[in-house]
Structure formats: structure tokens, C-alpha cells
């Protein structure tokens, strides 16, 4: 569940417009808190030889080729983002996010979290599901986020508030 920060978009715009250095510094600081989580998450992505051979790139043709697994690609697909997203149906705009963008990475991340570790595919996957609740469970990104125990989240919010304070102070001086 994301923490709602009131006026964060405007703050970002203001930072970029009036104190670009502070904006860059804030982005960098946020990135520094998220990078360990991303690195950890990438570490949970298994190597190609640990994946069921039929799922590997080269062994999938046609429509399944798009979702074929390739470890380096899946690892690169995990990252973070500090630019605002589009407004969702509920009216929320995400400011800072960690992403698992590739289809294969998403499959590895979420396989079995709804229907359980059953069937012919899911039990053959390395790693285990971790995280609270069905929607926040996963093998890589969610697992790393769960292991972080909210430290990164707290630090990011702290950085935003800190930059807001700095900006406000700067504005008052001017």
C-alpha cells in the first residue's frame, strides 16, 4: 500500500523549476535508497540453467516467444522509477515505484501466488514466494521489498519531506 503524499507532484514541479539542483539531489537520494532493493530483487532472479528448459528463450516459438525466459533480460527488467505515473482509476498518481517490467520476470515473480504451487510448471520454479497479502507476494521484487521491511520506503518519504523543507526554506528566504 503506497503512502499518499499530498502536494508531491507540485513539489516536484516546483523543485524542477526553481531549484533544479535540489530536484536532482532528491532524485539521486531516492535512487540510492531504492537501488539496494532492486539489486537484491535482481539477485532472486534465477540463472537460465535453473529454469525449466522449455521456458527458455530459443525453446519457445510463436506467441509464447514473447514470454520466454532469459535471465539477464529478466534481471534488467527490475528497476525503479521516480517520475510520476498516469492517474489510475482510483485517482492516485504514483510518484516513486519499483518495477518488474518484463513478462517473463512477472511470470517468475507471481506464478502460484493465486492458485498455489501446483501443476507442472510452478513447482519447478526456483525460489519461494514472500510478502504480505496476495497482491504484495512474489519471488524477486516483492521478496526483496518484504525483506527490506519498509526501510527504503521510509527513507524515500523522508527524502521527499526533507527536500520539501529545504525548498520551503529557500522560498521563504527569497
Amino acid at each position: 500500500m503506497p503512502t499518499s503524499v499530498k502536494g508531491a507532484s507540485n513539489l516536484r514541479k516546483a523543485l524542477k523549476k526553481f531549484t533544479p539542483d535540489l530536484a536532482k539531489e532528491t532524485t539521486k537520494e531516492i535512487g540510492s535508497f531504492l537501488k539496494p532493493v532492486v539489486k537484491n530483487a535482481r539477485g532472486f532472479i534465477p540463472a537460465n540453467d535453473q529454469i525449466p528448459s522449455g521456458w527458455l528463450v530459443g525453446n519457445q516459438k510463436g506467441k509464447w516467444e514473447r514470454v520466454a525466459f532469459d535471465s539477464p533480460v529478466a534481471k534488467r527488467g527490475i528497476g525503479y522509477k521516480t517520475t510520476p505515473s498516469k492517474v489510475n482509476r482510483s485517482g492516485f498518481k504514483a510518484l516513486v515505484s519499483i518495477l518488474n517490467k518484463t513478462a517473463a520476470g512477472a511470470i517468475y515473480e507471481t506464478a502460484g501466488r493465486k492458485s498455489g504451487i501446483t501443476g507442472r510448471f510452478t513447482p519447478r520454479l526456483e525460489g519461494s514466494l514472500a510478502g504480505q497479502g496476495q497482491k504484495m507476494q512474489g519471488r524477486a521484487m516483492f521478496k526483496a521489498y518484504a525483506q527490506d521491511q519498509g526501510k527504503a520506503k521510509g527513507a524515500v518519504l523522508q527524502a521527499i519531506f526533507k527536500s520539501a523543507d529545504k525548498f520551503n526554506k529557500t522560498a521563504k528566504v527569497k
Binding site: 499518499s4 504514483a94 513478462a103
Partner: protein
């Protein structure tokens, strides 16, 4: 698939959908209000129009019934004075008292008046009819008809009302007696019925109906006033309506004509526009001469004919395809045909070419394969033709030489030889050595002859008899002589067989 993401921080900016929903709801509310107003207006106008129509209709019907009643009075010679008014007032009062509509009362009164020819009697009978109607539940129309018939002598109709009078009473009594009896039986029924809630409801209906009639009357008067009032007011109004409708039709026609003219002007067809404006028959101004027109018509006709031919060809193609399909179906159906199955089985066997062709022809005929059948028939005929030729050729061949022809002479010769041999006579030999060309016997025979142990004598028939000299006379002597001989030989050391059982020797 949406990206998997963990949102660390977010901001609520309000959903676009909320604004859209708000806008849509506001617009819908406005439209509903507008629609409601329009609908109410329309509904009100419709109701008013319908109500006005009903009122006018009610008034027209009531007016018609009143006029018919007045005419009846006039016809009966009762229309003098204010009789018509008296009757109408009586009916109006009766309507209010009993709750029975004047729509029923007036025809009943009219009927009774025609039967009795007396207003007072009719009023009494109508009152009685109302009582009977209330008491029996029969309609006022039915009761009044029965009373009318009874008054005129047909009392059976009264019996059918179930008023409690027997057939004998009805036939033996006069109408006055029956009327008196009925008045006793149904006294006060109408007024009692009018006091009930149903009666009150009926009175309410009467009041409503009268209001309708009053409104309708007012409407007609208003329309008459529009037409100038007075007696001819309504006619004037209807004439005005006719005039208005004609004017409207003319206006519509004018608008249509102008639109057509404008359109033709816009297309540059000024001549045609002028024709329409002046009401002339449009002239062809396309510049096409009659000859060219005829050519064009011919070309169009040719084109149409080609199109028809094409359609016909398509149709034929479809029909052919349908026939093919049907044939295919028939073929499929023949899988279960025993006759064909037999032919097919025979075809699989070892048969001659001609037989095969015959079977194939039969099969083709059975399956309706005309082309194959004709082909096979031709081949078969050809084969048959070849057979005929062969037969003719064989018939023309010369007779083959008989290989036994020479045998006859040979057999005849054999027969002659056999006959000759059969005819030969055998000749007896004259001496024992008759046949021996050398004239001598063998050495053994010579020795026997010389030792005189054998006396050779030849009988008259040529037989040679041999006689052995010694003591052997009988068979027993011969057996004894042989046994002795064998015993001697055995004892002299000559090899012999010894009979083990007898202990004797055997030769």
C-alpha cells in the same frame, strides 16, 4: 499485462471518472427535467384532447338519443305542447334517482312509447322495468323489451326474465294483471338499489357522464361560436377547417416546388426550373437527339439483356451444381443398394472383359451415369460386333478333313483277314513228329522209347498215352512207392527233412 510495481509514494489527484460522472449526471438531470416538462405538457395536451373528444362524443350520443325520442313522440302524435320536455325531465330525474344512465333510459322509454302510445303508461312501465331490472339483475334494455312484448301480447318474454310468474299465469292473465302482480313483486327495488353503495357509485357515474355531456355541449357551442355562432356556426367552422387544410396543403406544395426550383437552379437547369414554376410539363433539355436517344435506349436494352443472360448463366450454373450435388447424394445412397452391391461384388471377381463391360453398363444405368452408360454401351456393342464377325468367319470356314477317313479301308482289310482266318479248317498231324521238321525226338524221349519203359501209343484222336510199368496200380501204391523212395534216400545219407513231431524223416 500491466507492469508489476510497488508504489512507494503516491498522490491522490482525483479521478477523472469522478468528474466525468458528475458532468454526465448533471447533464442527465437537465435532460430528465426537460423531458419531464415536455412529457407533462404533451401528456396534459393529450389528456385534454382525449377528454374533449370523449365529452364531445358523450354529448353527441345523448343529443342523438334525445332527438330520436322527440321524433318518436312526434311520430306517435304526442309531440305537442311541452311533452318532449316533460319526458326528458322525467328521464333526467329518473337518472338522478336510480343511477341508471339516460343512455339506457331513453331507448327504453322510446321502446315503451312505441308499444303503448301513451306517455303516462310508458312512464309507469319504465318505473316497473327499473324495479324488475334492479330485482332480477337483468339489464334495463332486456326488461323493457320484455315488457314491450308483454304489452303487445307476447308474455313468454316476461317468463324468461324469471320474475316468479308461471306459464299458466302468464297465458291466462291479462297484461294489466301481470303488471299489477309484477308491481307487487318488485316494489321499491329500484329506489332500494339506488340507496346502496353501488347505486351511489352509479349516481356518481351519472353525474360524471352528465358533466361530460355538458362539457361536450360547451365545446360544440364554442366551435359554433368560432364559426360565427347561431345555427350555421358549426357548419361554418367545419368549412373553415376544410379551407385551412387546403391552404396548408397548398403551402406544403409551394414549399416543395420552391425547393425543387432552387435545386434545379443550383444545378444550372434553368429551363426545367422555369417549367416547374410555370406549371408546364418538364421538357428534356439534355440535348440528346431522338436518334441518339434511341441508340442509348438500345444500348441500355442490350446491357439489360446481357445482364439477364449473365444472371441466367449463373442460375444455370447453380442448377447444374445442385444436380451434381443431388447425383453425389444418390451415389452416396447407393452404398446400401443391394443390386449395386451385387454388381460391384461381381466386378471384383474373375470375369471376362465383355462380362465386365456388361456389369459396368448395368452399374452405370443403375447409378444414372448417362455418359458412362452410353460409352459402355458403345463398347459392348462393339465387342458384340466382333463376336458376330468371329462367328461368321467360323461359319465360312471349310469342313476340316476327317482324320479317320483312311481307317475305314484299314478296318475293312482287318475284317477280311479275320473272316478268312475264321473260315480256315485245322489239319490233324499224321505222326507224333508231325510238326518237327527234323523228324527226330529229343534224346530223353528217344531213351524212353528205346528202354521200353514207356509204351507210346497214339489214340485215334492223336492223344499220346504213357504207361509206367511196375507194381503201382493204385493211388495207394503210388503213395507207398514215393514214401519208400524218400525213406531210402534219407537213410542213404541224402539230405532230408526230419518230422520232429512224428519222429520220422520227411523228404
Amino acid at each position: 499485462m500491466a507492469d508489476l510495481r510497488i508504489d512507494i509514494a503516491s498522490e491522490f489527484v482525483g479521478a477523472k471518472a469522478f468528474k466525468q460522472a458528475d458532468t454526465a449526471t448533471s447533464a442527465l438531470t437537465r435532460q430528465v427535467n426537460s423531458l419531464a416538462k415536455s412529457y407533462l405538457g404533451l401528456y396534459g395536451i393529450q389528456k385534454l384532447a382525449r377528454g374533449a373528444g370523449q365529452a364531445a362524443k358523450a354529448f353527441a350520443e345523448d343529443d342523438k338519443a334525445a332527438k330520436i325520442l322527440g321524433q318518436t313522440l312526434n311520430n306517435l302524435g304526442l309531440g305537442f305542447g311541452n311533452n318532449a320536455q316533460i319526458v326528458n325531465d322525467y328521464i333526467s330525474n329518473l337518472e338522478k334517482q336510480t343511477g341508471v344512465l339516460d343512455d339506457e333510459l331513453r331507448p327504453a322509454m322510446d321502446r315503451l312509447l312505441r308499444a303503448t302510445g301513451d306517455i303516462t303508461k310508458s312512464q309507469k312501465l319504465l318505473s316497473l322495468a327499473l324495479d324488475i331490472s334492479a330485482g332480477t339483475g337483468k339489464s334495463l334494455t332486456q326488461v323493457s323489451q320484455s315488457l314491450q312484448k308483454g304489452f303487445l301480447g307476447q308474455t313468454q318474454a316476461l317468463g324468461r326474465l324469471g320474475v316468479g310468474l308461471s306459464k299458466a299465469e302468464l297465458t291466462s292473465s291479462s297484461f294489466e294483471e301481470i303488471q299489477t302482480r309484477l308491481a307487487v313483486l318488485f316494489e321499491g327495488q329500484a329506489s332500494l338499489a339506488a340507496d346502496t353503495y353501488t347505486g351511489k357509485m352509479n349516481k356518481l357515474t351519472v353525474a360524471t357522464n352528465n358533466a361530460k355531456e355538458a362539457i361536450g355541449e360547451g365545446l360544440f357551442e364554442a366551435l359554433s361560436a368560432v364559426g360565427g355562432g347561431g345555427e350555421g356556426g358549426f357548419d361554418n367552422f367545419t368549412k373553415a377547417i376544410e379551407g385551412s387544410s387546403k391552404a396548408l396543403a397548398f403551402l406544403i406544395k409551394l414549399v416543395g416546388t420552391n425547393l425543387g426550383v432552387i435545386s434545379l437552379f443550383a444545378q444550372g437547369k434553368f429551363g426545367s426550373a422555369t417549367d416547374i414554376l410555370l406549371g408546364r410539363q418538364p421538357v428534356d433539355r439534355s440535348g440528346i437527339t431522338p436518334a441518339i436517344g434511341a441508340e442509348l435506349k438500345k444500348a441500355a436494352a442490350d446491357k439489360a439483356a446481357a445482364k439477364r443472360a449473365k444472371e441466367q448463366a449463373v442460375l444455370t450454373k447453380k442448377q447444374t451444381a445442385a444436380i451434381k450435388e443431388q447425383t453425389a447424394l444418390q451415389k452416396a445412397g447407393t452404398l446400401f443398394d443391394i443390386q449395386q452391391a451385387g454388381i460391384i461384388a461381381a466386378l471384383k471377381g474373375k470375369i471376362t472383359d465383355e462380362e465386365r463391360k456388361r456389369l459396368e453398363l448395368q452399374l452405370a444405368i443403375l447409378t444414372g451415369n448417362t455418359s458412362e452408360a452410353s460409352k459402355l454401351a458403345g463398347e459392348l456393342a462393339k465387342a458384340q460386333g466382333l463376336s458376330t464377325q468371329l462367328a461368321a468367319y467360323l461359319a465360312d470356314l471349310p469342313d476340316a478333313k476327317n482324320p479317320f477317313t483312311a481307317w475305314k479301308n484299314y478296318l475293312d482289310m482287318i475284317e477280311a483277314q479275320a473272316r478268312r482266318i475264321a473260315g480256315m479248317t485245322p489239319v490233324a498231324p499224321t505222326s507224333i513228329a508231325g510238326g518237327n521238321t527234323s523228324g527226330t525226338f529229343s534224346p530223353v524221349v528217344q531213351e524212353m522209347i528205346s528202354s521200353s519203359n514207356v509204351s507210346a501209343r497214339v489214340g485215334a484222336a492223336g492223344n499220346v498215352n504213357v504207361y509206367v510199368a511196375g507194381s503201382v496200380v493204385s493211388e495207394a501204391d503210388l503213395v507207398q512207392a514215393v514214401s519208400d523212395g524218400l525213406l531210402n534216400r534219407s537213410l542213404s545219407g541224402s539230405p532230408s527233412a526230419i518230422g520232429r513231431l512224428k519222429g520220422s524223416f520227411a523228404g
